[in-house]
Amino acid sequence: MKKLRDRVAALLDEGAVSLVIGYEEGTKRPRPLFCRNSESSGKLIFDSRCFHNLAVYVTKKELVGKERFAVTAPISTLRSILQLYVENQLSEEKLLVLTVDLNGELREFVTFEEISAYVAQFEMKRGEREQEILSKIEGMTREERWKFWMGEMSHCFKCYACRSACPLCYCTKCVVEVNRPQWINPWPSPISNMEWHVNRAMHMVGRCTACGACGDACPVGIPIDLITRKMMEDLAPEFGYIPGQPAKQGNALSSWKLDDREQFIR
């Protein structure tokens, strides 16, 4: 931790970066910290409790401004940063990525390839919460799944906290705000909630890095992060990507293979 603080202080003093996004000790658990001068870098912490995805701030122009900035990134943030690179939302000159690797060494990355090589060591596994709920869902029949999700969806009141927590939801105007035509009804009826979450999952095909930010953000605790996680796991063999390790070539949905599976097509 000490090496990290000194490095950040040095970076800020030299003016190499105008901002460093990291974690500081919060009331119950770590919360994001935005250091703009070396004094505040003293509050920086970086341990296993810091896993919330900071990548969601990286695309906010009004926060990071035009100068170069840095972020201390746990594995979830690194994966999202890779996906944001693939989608032309970040430039390698503007962002410096700091992290502390498994044996406590301070690591700095600039290019996509560096981060990609580092991320490749981490395999995306389900935590027990995910395993427990998903195995329950996987055991259900279609009707039971429908009832389960309709029950869950009835709690949703369209606060869109999931959208604002997700680093890959950086659209200036979301499809739900399109009213000509009104694709997704704004009122929180179960069917329009279901439409919203199906649409969100479809927008995440080949992109979601299962960081769980949306699940954490949901005020009524709907396990919506499991929808995108399960989708990513199921589609990985189909589309030939490795969940959590975005590749340079285009999005899974905007590319295709000659031998894509098609026995469901008559």
């Binding site: 279609r142 029950g151 439409e195 199906v198 479809m202 929808i227 905007s254 590319s255 008559r266």
Partner: protein, 154 residues
Amino acid sequence: MSSSTEFEPKIIAFVCNWCTYAGADLTGTSRLKYATNVKIVRFPCTGRIDFLLLLKSFAQGADGVIVSGCHPNDCHYTSGNFHARRRWIAFRTVLDLMGVDIRRIQYSWVSAAEGSKWADLVNNTVADIRALGPYAEYQKVAEYLEKEGFDEEA
């Protein structure tokens, strides 16, 4: 054609203009008969068919949907159908995960020369959907606003 008491499914067909629409035209010119339940919406290409439209169809009372376009390598725009096929693989996975009855969405390739295949596709799909019955569980949830509340254990 069928007795009025029996359930008549409402089916929408999203088709591409260059192949399946022309195939349906050929079914017409060859005077082949098929069920009246299916109404065709024309798109320039299967690549243009938005998955949200399918959701909207079910929400508005459709019991089944047909999506059909050019065979692989036939696409007038070279790769529209390939993009569509990949989109439907993803869409089916998400819908199935959410418990939507994906048997009600029938995908097919029908070329401009396969008039009879279009007639068979329509008749078989109507028969399948009639067997599945109305998609009540989806529509009941859709009429949420008209009725007072949504009873949990429906």
